[in-house]
């Protein structure tokens, strides 16, 4: 070889070309490789079947991405997500029909539904060791066990309340993002002074105006107060006093006039309309929930204004005290398995695949929701929440407030914020606010 360097070089060239080209071919032939998530299938990889997931999302791309990943292990299994019209009303019927879903959405308040018991009666115990689902990856306080210790639903997404902040506007006007209630007022004032008609906006239907401001504040006030919770859950009229501080806060904020009710009422929904309005780029702060934030990334391209003038934005907790804001975290949706499913084994296998840190975080990231995992790898848009002290975190599941009491709180706040009730009237009407 030493005597024939050109020949050696030619041989090397041949070998390299063969390796490169055949590697290309091999990669092509091998197709997509299984990810390194550590998932070990328990069923025959050639198992055939169909799994249907139903829910109230019009579309669920994050879940469909998981279907694709699951298909790497089970190529002959078809997974379908189906939107059910009137989900909350029809789910129990769907679970009983001939085309019953295999997996379905659950909500924390589902147990309060009239047919909630029927629904959970049809749910598989996902804590059953025989299913080998690793629930340890989910934050323990999000896992709801029934009186038999069963876990009938696994959280998939959690949510919180806050405000979308146009960081570029803050930077442009040299205004700091508010960390306290007074800073919030100051910021609104500064923007108003700078000519911004709407320093802050929010969806004004279904009792959601200013909800991100007052509801975390309210939860913090009653957290651990068993008497208050008991009275509130019993919808006792006198329990309305527990709402007074919250309603005073609401009234106080409204008195400053930074929130234009007419502009807020023009927002047709708390999702597309809110997001697209925020992307207009002239609203420094937009009150929203985590569910709303989940739609922001996808709608960046849909917004002509944002496409033409993109800006940096993030989601912040709304400061309601001089000590700062609260981070209220609650399950947005969970997944339950229909134990009467014709494809029960496959449905459980999909849950076994899905319930792990990697997959749940991937789903959260894809939909820009807050992950239920103990390892909170939050999207960058949620970064401000990570800065909050743990003492200011409130888990609604642990709080113990029932759905109806919570609704009364929201309605009261909405009535006051819209000037339809005074604070006193709202306090007095607790339990019966329409």
């Amino acid at each position: 070889m030493r005597r024939h360097p050109r020949f050696a070089a030619l041989c090397a060239l041949v070998l390299a070309l063969m390796l490169v080209l055949t590697a290309c071919g091999a990669q092509e032939a091998a197709g997509p490789q299984a990810s390194d998530v550590g998932f070990t299938p328990r069923l025959d990889s050639q198992t055939e079947g169909a799994v249907t997931v139903v829910g109230h999302y019009n579309n669920f791309e994050a879940l469909e991405a998981e279907f694709v990943r699951f298909a790497e292990y089970y190529p002959n299994v078809t997974l379908t997500y189906t939107y059910l019209d009137g989900y909350s009303k029809i789910l129990s019927t769907a679970l009983g029909n001939s085309e019953a879903p295999d997996i379905f959405f659950t909500y924390p308040w589902m147990g309060d539904w009239a047919d909630g018991a029927d629904i959970f009666a049809a749910s598989e115990n996902l804590a059953d060791p025989a299913l080998d689902i690793d629930l340890s990856c989910v934050r323990e306080n999000l896992l709801k066990r029934d009186d038999q210790g069963r876990i009938l639903s696994v959280p998939v997404y959690t949510t919180t309340y806050g405000m979308l902040v146009n960081e570029d506007l803050f930077a442009k006007e040299n205004i700091a993002v508010p960390q306290t209630y007074s800073e919030l007022l100051s910021a609104c004032e500064a923007f108003r002074a700078a000519g911004y008609a709407n320093p802050i906006m929010g969806y004004n239907k279904s009792g959601e105006l200013l909800y991100p401001l007052y509801y975390p504040y309210f939860c913090a006030q009653i957290q651990g107060d068993e008497a208050a919770l008991s009275a509130l859950n019993a919808l006792q009229p006198e329990a309305g006093e527990y709402l007074r501080d919250m309603l005073e806060l609401t009234a106080d904020f409204m008195r400053h006039g930074y929130l234009d009710l007419e502009s807020c009422s023009a927002l047709k929904d708390n999702y597309d309309a809110v997001i697209l309005r925020f992307f207009e780029g002239d609203v420094p702060m937009m009150l929203a929930t985590g569910n709303t934030v989940s739609g922001t990334e996808k709608r960046e391209a849909k917004s002509e204004a944002f496409t033409q003038n993109p800006f940096r934005y993030s989601f912040h907790p709304v400061p309601s005290t001089e000590q700062g804001a609260y981070f209220v975290n609650t399950v947005s949706i969970g997944f339950a398995v229909n134990k009467n499913s014709a494809n029960l084994a496959l449905a459980n296998e999909f849950m076994r695949f899905l319930v792990c840190t990697d997959e749940l975080n991937l789903m959260a990231k894809a939909k820009r929701m807050v992950t239920p995992c103990a390892d909170m790898s939050l999207d960058s848009v949620y970064a401000p929440f990570e800065k909050l002290d743990e003492s200011r975190m409130i888990n609604l599941s642990e709080l113990g407030l029932i759905d109806e009491a919570s609704s009364q709180v929201c309605r009261a706040g909405w009535q006051v914020s819209n000037g339809l009730m005074t604070v006193d009237e709202a306090v007095a009407a607790f339990g019966s606010i329409a």
Binding site: F7, V14, V68, D85, G86, K302
Partner: protein, 843 residues
Amino acid sequence: MKKNWMLIGNIVIVLTILALIVFYVGNEQERMLASKMEAFGNMTEAMEHVTTNYLVGEQQVCNSWANYINANDLSAQQAIAFVRDAITSPEIMAHILFPDGDALTGLSTATRGPAGDDTVSYRNIASFTAELEEHLRQNGAVSVTRAYTNPVNAIQSIAFCSTVTVRRDAAGQPEQAVLLRIIPVSTFEKKWSFPTDDYKNAEISLIDTAGNYILRGHSFKNSNFYEFYQSYNSPGPAELERVKEALAGKPGVMTILNSTGSESLIAHTRVNSTDDWIIVTMISMKELGHTAINWTLGGIITAGLLLLLAFNLAIMMSFNRQLRAAAEAADRANQAKTDFLSTMSHDIRTPMNAIIGLTTIAGKNVEDAAAVRENLRKINLASNHLLTLINDILDISKVESGKLTLSPVTFSIVECAENLVNISQPMVKEKNIDFNFRVNRFQQEYLYADQLRINQIYINLLSNAIKYTQPGGRVCVELREAPGQTDKTVRITYVVADTGMGMTPEFMERMYQPFSRQTDSRVNMIQGTGLGLAITKQMIDLMHGTIECESQVGKGTTFTVTLEIPLADKLMDEFMLPPIRVLLADDDEVLLETARDTLRSIGVEADTAQSGAEAVRMASGRGAYRVVILDWKMPDMDGIEAARRIRAQVGDEVPILLISAYSWSDIEDVARDAGVDGFISKPLFRTTLYDKLSELLGNENTRADQEDDGADLADMRILVAEDNDTNWEIISMLLDMYGIQTERAENGQLAVERMAKAEQGAFHLIFMDIQMPVMNGIEATKAIRALSDPWASQIPIIAMTADAFSENVAECLAAGMNGHIAKPIDMKLVLKEIKRIKEGTKR
């Protein structure tokens, strides 16, 4: 540099071929893909017909129900009861819905609960009322909803709509309501698949112009087709608009990325029976048979081409090396031949110079007979040397062309040895070399081999030994016989040892190569062609023999040749003498022993004496020995003195022979005076002893050839076909010296004509030159052989030509000639041939 360009050129060719393959495959794939895409589009259009037929059929059923209801003034309950009865499939359901605020409520054909509740509400189905109103407003032949969740059974369904006029209750006024014929999506999907297995994995969706799915295939994601397209293809607004326009327009196809990132083909066509429905079908390009360039195949082809390139380069480099080696060898050969020609020029010019110069001198001194005789003698010597030179050149030419062939004949190895001695004697004597020729007794004298070539081998080696040995040196020759590998062969070993200048190891490595001569000032002074050893080696190889050489510079050289030679048929018994006793004297014990054995083999018993004095003493008894044989050179008393004393003792009755390794011409007179009757040369061969003793004993059975004076050939007539005047003059004059009459024919044609006209017996034979004008000797011979006169056609014809190669001889014999004599002619051979012809013997 040239190699690099060649390499680059080859790589460029390989890459070009690959590019062409990729280009061609790409084009083919595009063509096939276009064809498949078109077929898929056509199939989608066919699906549109199937869909339309199905939808229209379902719509017609719904319309027929509505027509009946409208024609019979029914209440809602009566109407729903009618429809319930009309439904033939349990999967199908019908609803009659009335506007109820911002929602729709009404009755269902399905009942729930023990009470048989048949009410239904669409309140929880978002925006369904508006959608329904929109459908009913449209003028399409089919009015069907999107897939929605049937509020009665929660099964995803589609519904065909018709307006009916019914009363909410029996007492109520007729109101406009909506009749829905509801079919589960799963039922619809079963009927809604591609009618060919080619597209078994193709999926179908129905969308409206806004992209909302009416029905959605599994691979279609999101709730809206355009959202799905946006999610996985990230188009800009303009591109999205273009896609929307395309789907709303004529049927067509396009490629998009599906949810797995794979390229998929989308075919779309509007549903003619509706206003805003579009069928969108999707199949992955892989399913369609479209694959990207096969890189594995490309890799194999590339590797194959590059390996071919490497192989060709290796072969080419190998050829180049061989060509370079051949060119170098050719250069060396050319150089050697140039050197050889230079040498030849010198070597040929030297004797030629002598011949021409001496001829001139003789011409000037033609009156001085002694001087002319001396000049002629020297001319003869130079001519012989020139002839040897030419013969060597011819031989090496044969060797090089591979045409050296053997012509085996029966011959006597003894004669061969005698010949060697005779030939070497003049040189030995000239250089005063101590020459010792030792021959062991030969059991097998007559052998069958190419005598000429064996002689040539032996003479070459011997003459080299003598040539390269300084005067006063020593040359020893040994010729011995040993049993052969079979009983029909003998192994003859010939050893020539000299005390000459020797050879260097370097020269010994190439001494058998033609034109090789040792570079040595002493060698250059010695005549030689550098061909002798090459010819010798080739001949030995041809005879499957071996030659070995040992040599030391300044000390001498020993060549050993071993040949396996077949025996001749002649028997030893033919050479037996009557039983007599002889006395043999020599100081060499070995010679005594071998000579005694040789004599015994011819029937003669010998007593030996190791000195002259002992011989005198042993021979003293009168009648003791029939013949006395004495060596000339013995230390105390030489052979002549011993002969004189023996002759004095035994008188003239006992013949005395004197043995000598040298020419006895110088001592002949002294020896005869001393009483010597004859001379015999060393070595003492069996035949030599037989002949000499037979002669001395008066035995008629002598083998000695008589000196042929050619007297018996007088009056013979020979026709000589010879075009060259000088040659004709030489042969005619030489033959005339023997009284042979000659007649000339200047070419072959004349010879033929002469023979055709000649009377029987006009000529005894013809000497035929080969290369002649008009007609050559070969053609002439054939023509003579074809003559009608039997005498003329059978006349002996001997070729006399300068074409001396064996193939020339063979060609002559094949043409019908009877013999071959090479020019320059040896008169002895000529006479021998003539005599052979005259005696009518055949070769």
